[in-house]
Amino acid sequence: MKLGLVVDLDTCVGCHACATACKQWNTSGTIGPLSDERPHGKDPSGSWLNRIHSYEVGDSPHSKTVNIPMSCMHCETADCVTVCPTGASYKREEDGIVLIDQDKCMGCNLCSWACPYGARELDPDSGTMKKCTLCVDRIYDEQLPEAERQPACVLTCPTSSRVFGDFDDPDSQVSKLTRERAGQQLMPELGYNPVNTYLPPRNPKQQDSIAVSPMQGVRQLVNRIINR
């Protein structure tokens, strides 16, 4: 299996629901707590496994606002794993999820320097590295209702802009969406071969309009016999 996410940039409105859902689930999850430094003070800063970035592309009047949620891409060539000196960072053989064994991580930061996507964050309290687990503790938890065996970010997304599934299965929704909507890897040129894909914004819908002849001028409306 090759588990990962598809993120639809055509419908992401940048609401941050996925980011806080992730924080909420995982602070009591396998790599919790996700600590917050100065939570009520100056420049509050905590560890998050998923963040939303908003960009403007191009200059006005042709600019476009794009919201991009970023989390671990569960790369097939995961340099964050390669550089880990303790073996804490690893990519699971059976499903491709990249995880960090919290008991083996010594917080050296090498992995976060190796990650071009900024997906790894050092927890300010525990001093260990934290990252997206694809909610491994939800997707495999058979005691959860089947419909809820999804990453928290996917469950909560109000515009269903996040889809979870197996990219090895050509019939999975993630494979289909990637195929049909020309899903892209982020920065593929770097060679990490990220699993997650992003669906580009659709072309704006072209709407037919009623053709009018400018020469006709004002058209006279006439009373029709219509019974109330």
Partner: protein
């Protein structure tokens, strides 16, 4: 997915329990499922079965844990320390019994002497059915919620046009619409439902047009973004109207059958009765029937009314159809696209094209739903015809002083296209639509120890309904329903403090505020509002003698209170979201819901609902005491179950009847709360397929609505493109009304100008009084989605997303002014100036600057540390806005409210500013990274525990996934 062998057992589900309730961090009221373990919250998720959010949840809902853990939570009742000044923030704890005894004594005295001396105003609450009943039983007309500074323009325009409205009382038909136009949604109402809807229309390939000066949030995913000039949406809408009329692209069948377009209007300029509808002896409006070539009742089913034309009534009075007046008005050159483009900043070609695109969808892409239904006249119909163009509009329309007429203009576009309550159009949500308008008149009374004769807020239809005294002066403290704001259906909360301090129209004794931050971001002119709250008379008595605040958190307003009554959080209370109030209905179902306590109380606080019922008993309100004069209800839960507004109609519509087997109407059910809890805390009554559309003229629906008490009769709801109500007020302004008329010249002018029975565009009032050369920029604000409609920016997760706001402006303007990204600028209006940090951007109308509202906080409040960004770099635009209009006072020294002249809606977005860079040597180095103005630090409340420097929340210790050594050694670096 099958669990892999090597994974540990993650959650100990045996220790967890799931409980359902309703979120309360904005106005959406989503259903949530809360997982608890060890009395801690493990997870809050959207309830998949819930009609509002269908399983999804926003950023706020997902941060509920941090709201619950906020260090700003109030923990006990507080009394301003004797001998200290109001606003100094020195309090001492007081017991609930002592606090309620003190309050009861004070209120009993007011009630026994002059009940209007209690002004009771509530903020973003969702319990107006209860607080309104309470005020009515107390006998004070001075009650309202926050709608007057939020969205009354939208509610009033909708209810006075088609009997429902945008947002709460209606929604686009997301499932069927093919063309969706969103006007002025400043990332505000609503949250999850709009997001769910946008996803649906994008999936289905409908076109999404966003009209907004700023391209953030929803605008980012629109197919087309219209960067309109703020406050000119009415011109845009009516210019498109001209295109449709010019090309004959109107749904005349819809207009004739369902609107007052063909009704005959008296055409007697300058004479009494001009502009009113021609009526027969029974009072029925008349049409020109083409079968009989004469005047007939407009309510008859058998007539073929002429939509256009001028005629002579049998009495010789010249008349013409309402639609003819409309035609004449909107075909005027001022509404031509080329003229409109100069006002709106939208090119004429786009105005033409969008109008013609909508017409294409309405008339060439019509949809039908084959369902038999019965129309208002009892005729069987075989299908619903859908013109699938829909719209939604909100704050960007509402917060201008031309918002009422602009919102009417937007509705009118939909009416002309025939898209009201049809498949793919704009649909009503039960208990709407209502007749135009609901037959509730605002109360005028003020008798000691006597309940009001009706609700404090209602729907005026004529000058006789105004709440004014024999001299024409306002009777309400906020001057709602006076000549200043005749159709102020939600009151004018933003005027209460200013008016009470000025003693205009009179002084009050006690101001009671619930969940409203009037000493900060909910008031215009914040610094001066603080001064007003502190203001004293020469005798040393405060001008507002007593201020009571109920809130769950340490807001800025708490500091300015004499008595603070601490509320619970939403996870600690019983509550109802009632059909009598602002229910959670969907377009195809009547719904209401409850909250239940999820967490046990850990501090000495009480829910305001409970306190309201308690006080009502202590004060011996007739509806709250039994024959022995003792409190009738044991508490809030008991009240909700047993109170009936009309026989069988109570706060909750579900599981009524002794055995809980009745819906909508039925006798009280003692087990009603349990029934709701067993059903995930909501009730959903689905409409049958034949009741889902054209409800204004659908007998199958209206019979149900009457039985449920939603409407008083099954008569057709005739959509009012022409508002006779407005014309009556206008006649009063012209001195042609047979009834109350204003005496002051400026009131006459306002009525003549703004009470046009057909919507029109006029420049917002403040803008019209501001020198555009001196103040070249429009200034508006938005609330970020992750804090929309919430008072939660102290939330430690959400404030990591944003703890400082910036002034956003177009890059080209910043460059021209020499202001760099992250540079500081002075922002100055007629009312004062502020210093703000600037960010430059592309996606904004170049003439407009904007910021995120209510990020800034006063130092020392909301549990934040002294160096928190909110109090250091955050700024409020409120300082630049005055609650009174700029410029000369009217004759007699009357300063006019900065509000919509029809509804009294606060005109937050009419502001104009000038912007100059902050010079290097202008301010001391120590202040160069600080916003201005600055305020004294609020003192800590008794027993306040500051937040720790590090927070690491979890409901259970983490279950680490251990990587085996064999895996490490056998796979090497992988």
């Amino acid at each position: 997915m099958k669990q892999s062998q090597d994974l540990p057992q993650f959650e100990d589900h045996s220790k967890q329990e799931h409980r359902y309730t309703t979120c309360y961090m904005c106005a959406c009221r989503c259903g949530i499922k809360v997982t608890l373990e060890d009395e801690k919250i493990r997870f809050v998720q959207g309830n998949p079965d819930h009609p509002v959010n269908k399983g999804v949840l926003c950023a706020k809902g997902n941060s509920a844990i941090m709201k619950q853990l906020s260090p700003a939570k109030l923990s006990q009742p507080l009394l301003r320390k004797p001998g200290t000044e109001r606003g100094a923030g020195e309090f001492e704890p007081i017991s609930w019994e002592a606090a309620l005894n003190m309050l009861t004594a004070r209120l009993a005295n007011i009630r026994a002497t002059d009940p209007k001396k209690l002004a009771y105003f509530t903020g973003r609450d969702q319990m107006q059915a209860l607080t309104g009943l309470w005020a009515s039983q107390f006998g004070t007309i001075n009650w309202a919620a926050h709608g007057g500074f939020c969205s009354v323009n939208m509610a009033a325009a909708g209810l006075y046009t088609m009997g429902h409205s945008f947002w709460e009382f209606g929604d686009p038909d997301w499932e069927n619409t093919k063309y969706f136009m969103m006007w002025g949604v400043a990332e505000d109402h609503a949250s999850n439902p709009i997001k769910l809807g946008l996803k649906r229309i994008k999936e289905r390939g409908a076109k999404f047009v966003a009209v907004n000066p700023v391209r953030t949030g929803y605008q980012a995913i629109a197919d087309e973004w219209i960067a309109i000039t703020p406050g000119t949406d009415g011109m845009f809408a009516l210019s498109m109207m001209q295109v449709l009329l010019r090309e004959g692209l109107i749904d005349d069948e819809f207009l004739i059958r369902y609107t007052n377009g063909p009704q005959l209007v008296i055409n007697n300029p300058g004479k009494q009765g001009d502009g009113l509808l021609l009526r027969d002896e029974q009072g029925n409006p008349q049409v020109w029937d083409q079968h009989t070539d004469g005047v007939q009742s407009a309510l008859s089913a058998d007539v073929a009314p002429a939509l256009m034309g001028a005629y002579e009534a049998p009495c010789g009075t010249p008349v013409r159809t309402a639609f003819s007046i409309l035609m004449e008005k909107y075909m005027a050159p001022e509404y031509a696209p080329i003229a409109a483009s100069k006002v709106c900043g939208i090119d004429a070609e786009s105005i033409e094209r969008i109008a013609l695109e909508m017409a294409h969808v309405a008339f060439k892409e019509t949809i039908t739903i084959d369902t038999e239904w019965t129309d208002w006249a009892g005729r069987k119909q075989t299908q619903f015809i859908g013109r699938p163009v829909s719209m939604h509009a909100m704050r960007g329309i509402s917060a201008h002083s031309n918002g009422f007429q602009t919102c009417r203009a937007i509705h009118l576009l939909q009416v002309v296209l025939g898209t009201i309550d049809c498949p793919g159009g704009h649909l009503a949500k039960p208990p709407f639509p209502k007749h135009i308008v609901p037959p509730i008149k605002p109360a005028k009374g003020n008798a000691p120890n006597t309940p009001l004769e009706s609700a404090p807020l209602g729907f005026p239809t004529q000058p006789e309904d105004l709440v004014i005294d024999e001299n024409g002066k306002p009777r309400r403290i906020d001057k709602a329903y006076s000549w200043d704001a005749p159709i102020a259906n939600h009151g004018l909360m933003h005027m209460v403090i200013s008016n009470a301090v000025a003693g205009d129209p009179y002084r009050i004794d006690t101001l009671m505020l619930f969940m409203a931050n009037m000493a900060w971001n909910s008031s215009m002119n914040t610094a001066q509002t603080m001064d007003m709250l502190r203001a004293k008379d020469d005798d040393g008595e405060y001008k507002i003698p007593f201020i009571v605040t109920c809130d769950a958190f340490h807001s800025e307003t708490v500091n300015f209170s004499d008595l603070v009554l601490p509320d619970t959080t939403f996870l600690e209370r019983y509550d109802t979201i009632s059909m009598l109030d602002r229910p959670i209905s969907e377009v195809d179902a009547a719904c209401d819901s409850i909250r239940q306590p999820i967490l046990a109380l850990d501090r000495d606080v009480r829910s305001w609902q409970e306190v309201m019922v308690d006080l009502a008993g202590r004060l011996k309100f007739p509806a709250f005491i039994n024959d022995e004069g003792q409190p009738k209800f044991k508490g809030y839960e008991d009240f909700i179950v047993n109170f009936e507004r009309a026989p069988g109609i109570g706060f909750l519509a579900g599981w009524r009847g002794k055995d809980g087997d009745k819906s909508l109407r039925g006798e009280p059910n003692p087990n009603q709360w349990k029934a709701y809890i067993d059903n995930q805390c909501f009730f959903k009554f689905e409409l049958k397929p034949n009741q889902r559309y054209m409800r204004h003229a659908n007998r199958d629906y209206m019979e149900l609505a009457k039985e449920a008490g939603w409407v008083g009769s099954t008569d057709q709801i005739v959509i009012e493109i022409y508002s006779e109500t407005l014309q009556k007020f206008r006649l009063a302004g012209q001195g042609l009304y047979d009834g109350p008329q204003p005496t002051e010249e400026h009131h006459k002018e306002r009525l003549k100008t703004y009470f046009d029975p057909l919507p029109f565009y006029y420049p917002p009032l403040e803008q019209a009084r501001t020198d555009a050369q001196e103040y070249p920029f429009y200034a508006v604000n938005q609330r970020p989605m992750f804090m929309y409609h919430s008072w939660d920016s102290q939330n430690s997760w959400l404030r990591q997303i944003m703890s400082q706001n910036y002034l956003y402006m177009h890059r080209s303007k910043g460059e021209a002014l020499g202001i760099k990204d992250f540079g500081w600028a002075w922002v100055e209006s007629h009312n004062g100036r502020i210093r703000a940090q600037v960010k430059l951007m592309e996606g904004v109308n170049p003439e407009t600057v904007w910021t995120w509202n209510a990020i800034a906080k006063q130092q020392g409040t909301w549990g934040l540390s002294d160096d928190a960004n909110e109090s250091q770099q955050g700024f409020l635009m409120n300082h630049l806005i005055n609650e009174l209009l700029p410029g000369e006072a009217e004759a007699g020294g009357h300063r006019m409210t900065n509000s919509d002249p029809v509804t009294g809606q606060a005109a937050w977005y009419d502001l104009r500013v000038k912007i100059t860079p902050v010079g290097k040597d202008e301010i001391p180095l120590s202040e160069q990274n600080l916003a201005w103005p600055r305020f004294d630090k609020a003192k800590a409340l008794p027993n306040f525990t500051p937040a720790s420097k590090m927070s690491s929340y979890s409901s259970h210790p983490n279950i680490n996934i251990s990587r085996g050594w064999r895996d490490i050694f056998s796979r090497g670096e992988k």
